[in-house]
Symmetry: C2
Subunit: 113 residues, 2 copies
């Protein structure tokens, strides 16, 4: 796995393409995967690590932080020992799901092309 990392497009302004806004949100190498996992209740850090072992912990953390900063996911910390943290989609994040689904459907057809 090497691509699927999109250099953020910081040139654009609102008169430019709105698509770029969207790309800047979901354009991380693992972000679509993370969104997909959280949606399917693979919503804890360690579970995500197992599900995508090629991504380093640092990278996983970074992508989670960015998604959180963009308001796509929410981080819920439980004061327990050992600590427990769960992630969930925000209402804004859920509006991205149709796009992710469309991409998945397209990707499957593309593979079978």
């Amino acid at each position: 796995m090497t691509k699927a990392s999109v250099r953020k497009n910081r040139h654009f302004n609102p008169t430019n393409c709105a698509v770029t806004y969207c790309m800047n949100i979901i354009g991380g190498k693992w972000k679509p995967v993370i969104i997909h996992l959280i949606r399917n209740n693979t919503n804890r850090y360690s579970l995500m690590q197992k599900a995508m072992p090629e991504a380093s912990k640092q990278t996983l953390t970074n992508q989670l932080r960015e998604l959180e900063a963009d308001g796509v996911i929410e981080r819920m910390v439980f004061a327990e020992t050992p600590p427990r943290v769960e992630y969930k989609m925000t209402d804004l994040g859920k509006t991205l799901l149709p796009i992710i689904d469309a991409m998945r459907t397209w990707g499957k057809d593309y593979v079978n092309r």
Copy 2:
């Protein structure tokens, strides 16, 4: 403009996320913009340059070549002087348009959020 460039995800295999296939196609910094331009008949090299002056000629060329290699767009050369080259969406490329549209719609709402 700085982000919207997604490092291609080359780890994935068909058992992994199909979304990544899609991201690897449209995940270039300027690819969604290019697709949008071509669809709206801004289909010549010089016209695209004027429409997105922040992208260098080299970058524009590279992104066009990648889109062509992935079968998303088609390059048509006319044997004239000065040379004329036009780009058009392939049938496969057209199947991406609903995704681009969904992203644009989402992006507009996101900006006004």
